[in-house]
Every structure is written in C-alpha cells, then in structure tokens.
Symmetry: C2
Subunit: 253 residues, 2 copies
DNA sequence: GCACTTGGTGTATTAATAACACAATAGTAT
DNA sequence: ATACTATTGTGTTATTAATACACCAAGTGC
C-alpha cells in the first residue's frame, strides 16, 4: 500500500499525533433499495478489504475520533455512532505486524505495534454519503450485507458483533431515523427491520406496533406516482424519538 | 501513595511490561445479606477510593488482563467478567496526570499519560472473595451499593454505567449463577433481582417466571432449621443456564 | 391452642403478541 | 371502460404473557 517514503512520513506523523496501541474501526450501515449496506475500503495494491478505521489523536475524545474518521470517509458530520466492543486479542493485528518489516525496523514501524481496536457502528442515510477512500486505499464503496467481500484481520468478526448489537438494540431502542430518508412509507420502514433482523414480519402487526411507539408522524399527502395504491408517507417525530432513545422502548421482536 | 523510589520502580516496570494509554477498571458485584456490594480500594495515605484496576501486559488478551487483575484482588479465578464500555475522555485521567509531577518529569512518569480505560463488570460469590489490596492501596473492601464512598476520577460514572448495563442484561440473560451460592431459596434469588433493579417484585409472579426459564433445579430437601416454613432449595441447571446465556431469554422486567 | 411470620400455590383480569381476511386504490392490459 | 393485479390500509379474533390478588401450610413464641 505505501511506498517507503510514504510509510516513513506516515509513521512519523502517527507517532507524534496518535495514541499508540489504540485504533478505531467502524461498521457503517446504510439502507438502500431494500438492502442493508456496509461501507468498506479496498487497500491499494494489495486488493484486500477493510472496515473504515483510524487512530485517536493524543488529546481527542474517542467519540470525536470516530466521528472525525467517518467524516473523512463519508463527508457526513454528526453521524449516529455507537461504541459497541473492544477487540483486544494480541493476535488480532498479527498479520499487520509483519507489514513493511523490510522497510522499517519494528521500533519505528507504527504497524508493527499491537493494537486494540474500539468497534463503533454508525447508522447513516445512504444517499447522503459520499464514499471517500483514505490514503491507504484505492476505493471506498458500499457492499450488500449479504454479499460482503472477505475482510482482513478480524474485521468480519467486528462486523458480525456490530450486527448482533444492532439486533439487540432493536428491542429497546427506536431505529430508523438515521437510516431512512426524511419521508418514507410504512412498508419501507418494515423492510429495514426485516433486513436487520433477517426475518419476515407481519405487515399489520408491524404497523400497529410502530405506531404505538408514538414516534411517527403521518404526512397529509400519500406518495403518488408509483404503481398500485398510494402509500402514506411518514416521518419521525424527533422529540418523541429522542425521548424514546433515552427512555427505551418496551417489548421485543 | 508511592514514595519516590517506589514510583520509579513502578514506572520502569510499567513502561517495560504494559501497553501504554490503556487501563482496565472493574466493577465487582457481590451479593450478601440481601445487599448488592461493590469491591473498592482505598489508596495509601491519600485515603481516596477507587475501583480495582490495572494495566494490560504487552502480549496479553484484555479479557485475561481483567481476569488477572481480579484474581489479585479477590483470590478467585475464572470469574464471570464482561467488558461493557470504554471511557475515553482525555480529561478523565487529568487529576492523575498531575500526580508525582515533583518526583518525575512527565516523560518518565507513567501516571502523566492519558489513559483510556476499559470497563469490566464482574459477578462473584461474595463469600468466596478474599479482598486483597494492591501495591497502591491500604485497603480492599466491600461497600453497599446504596452506601458507596466518593470515588476518584470517573469511577462513579463507571459504576453507574456498569449497573445500567447489568439491569439491561437482566432482560435477556439469566443472572444469578455467579452471584448466588450453590443452593439458595426462591425468596433469596428474588431479593437479588429486587436489589439489582431497585424495585419490589411480586413473589408469585417472580417464581412463575423464573421457573418458566427452565434454568432451575429444585432440591428434594427443603432448608430446615430456620424459623418459619421451610423453603425449598434451588440450584441452577448449568446446561440450561449456559444455553440461556447464548440464546437469550425473552421478555423484560 | 393462638397469633404471627414466612413460604408455597392457584385463579381472575388485563395487556401484549400473533394469526388472519377483506376492502380500497392506482396502475396495466384488453 | 372494464377487468385484472399488485400493493396498501384497516379491523377482528385467538393465543399467550404479564399483572393483581387470596388462600393455605409450616414453623416459632406465647
């Protein structure tokens, strides 16, 4: 990925500015055309795939670090972000530790260190994201959850853990505001839940339950133009939504 | 807490053996005489209070580190331990960063670094714990959750977050095996739940629900000798318990 | 025996979840 | 225009889970 000079510059910069031994990796979920998508990066030359990640500045809160990293990859600010697990096996970064060993001795090679990584997951509105590769990578792109490329290191595990966390959170948190466009139909929202949970839900029961949460506003106008019956448009009631985030919902799927 | 020579020795040892910038803090919950207890340490001289904590060896998985730290404080091995949050505000360890600044310049002073701390909570059987202070502390002792001393740094926040996590987990995990003695009565188990949730539960409904989980075995013999009617003794069915840990329970409190 | 405390069990009520059927609408094909 | 079809909206019933509540049993102290 790096040539020697790039590596030396990167390592000098990293040693000076970042906390050692700590990285952040992000699982960015988007939702588009009925599919749950995940943002991945393709390493230059190597061609291997990674989750977007980075390091923590020496005087930066970790949540801000995650935000900064994702702003670089998506163009978005104020992303819905949640820390979910620390991956701390000393073997986890072993494949990386060997990298560049011909270029730089371990003491100077940032990548020769052991790294704990803090896993964050993010929920974003697909259409607002402008996928942008970082300096190591040649490509930043969405992949269908059902069709992910093989990822390096433990990134597949990180993704799985993020998804498990998201599924659990569905039980006591409203989810959707960050993944859906401003206005959406009930069947679209249902598709999101079905995709996350990977199971079919009953249309009528879903609607009743969702409305009972009291976090949706129904628009005056249905969506015209499509084939078939015009569905109502809904948007989230932000006040009630925020409140539900704090208070939690009851019941589970 | 340390005199100068102790400090120098500690720092030399720490720099050589531990990952920098990372610490682990543990909230150890025990249950005794109807009270939820938390293990705390009292710093030498200073007299301030802390949660048990420590650092991660350079080649040690973080779960093992937490286990090692707790073995030192409790004498127990194979503790039920769960990582629950990383506290990563750069201000969080500020009060410590000033410590010993007259003894050692920042570059050599381990405590002058910024530390992220990984929060773990542990559930242990109170009577098996042998509280043991570490080298910084003069005392290691149980405190009632309702009667905790003021703790340094963000340790009160860490405790609160651990408790919130524990309460949430009650919704989809069996809890008790690690906190209760081998055999216990239903009212005793109920007291545990009531203490964690900080609310009264209905005796009869609690029993029905608990039994419905299918993780309890009722002993042939009731507990004799006490005053009043002899209660049945229960123990956890470990197979079903482990399975429930994996599969999750349904419903919430 | 009698009062009192603690523990065990059952039943009626209410709320939540799951299962299911039919009517309305906007396009498409003829 | 008419029938057809896919899709959305809504209501009703059955099942299951949660809650509230009342009685009986066993041991202690008097």
């Amino acid at each position: 990925m790096f040539n020697k000079q790039e590596l030396i510059d990167f390592c000098n910069n990293a040693r000076e500015n970042f906390l050692s031994h700590i990285s952040i990796d992000c699982v960015v979920f988007g939702f588009h055309e009925g599919q749950l998508k995940v943002l991945v990066l393709k390493m230059k030359n190597e061609g291997s795939w990674y989750l977007p990640g980075g390091f923590v500045l020496k005087n930066e809160p970790i949540d801000e670090a995650a935000n900064r990293i994702l702003k670089d990859r998506t163009g978005l600010d104020e992303i819905f972000l949640q820390q979910f697990h620390v991956f701390g096996d000393p073997e986890r970064s072993r494949p990386h530790n060997e990298m560049y060993k011909d270029y730089l001795p371990p003491a100077e090679n940032w990548f020769a260190n052991r790294f704990l990584t803090i896993g964050y997951y993010a929920l974003v509105d697909f259409v607002h994201v402008n996928p942008t590769p970082d300096s190591h990578s040649e490509l930043c792109a969405w992949y269908d959850l059902a069709d992910m490329p093989n990822m390096e290191l433990d990134h597949a595990t990180i993704l799985k853990t993020a998804l498990d966390t998201l599924r659990l959170q569905l039980n006591y948190q409203p989810i959707g505001y960050n993944l859906m466009p401003k206005e959406f139909t009930m069947p679209e929202l249902q598709k999101l839940y079905e995709t996350i949970l990977n199971q079919k839900l009953d249309r009528r029961n879903f609607q009743r339950r969702m409305l009972a949460f009291g976090i949706l506003n129904r628009s005056e106008q249905p969506r015209k133009g499509g084939a078939h019956k015009a569905p109502f448009l809904y948007s989230f009631d932000l006040d009630n939504y925020q409140n539900a985030l704090k208070e939690g919902l009851k019941g589970g799927w």
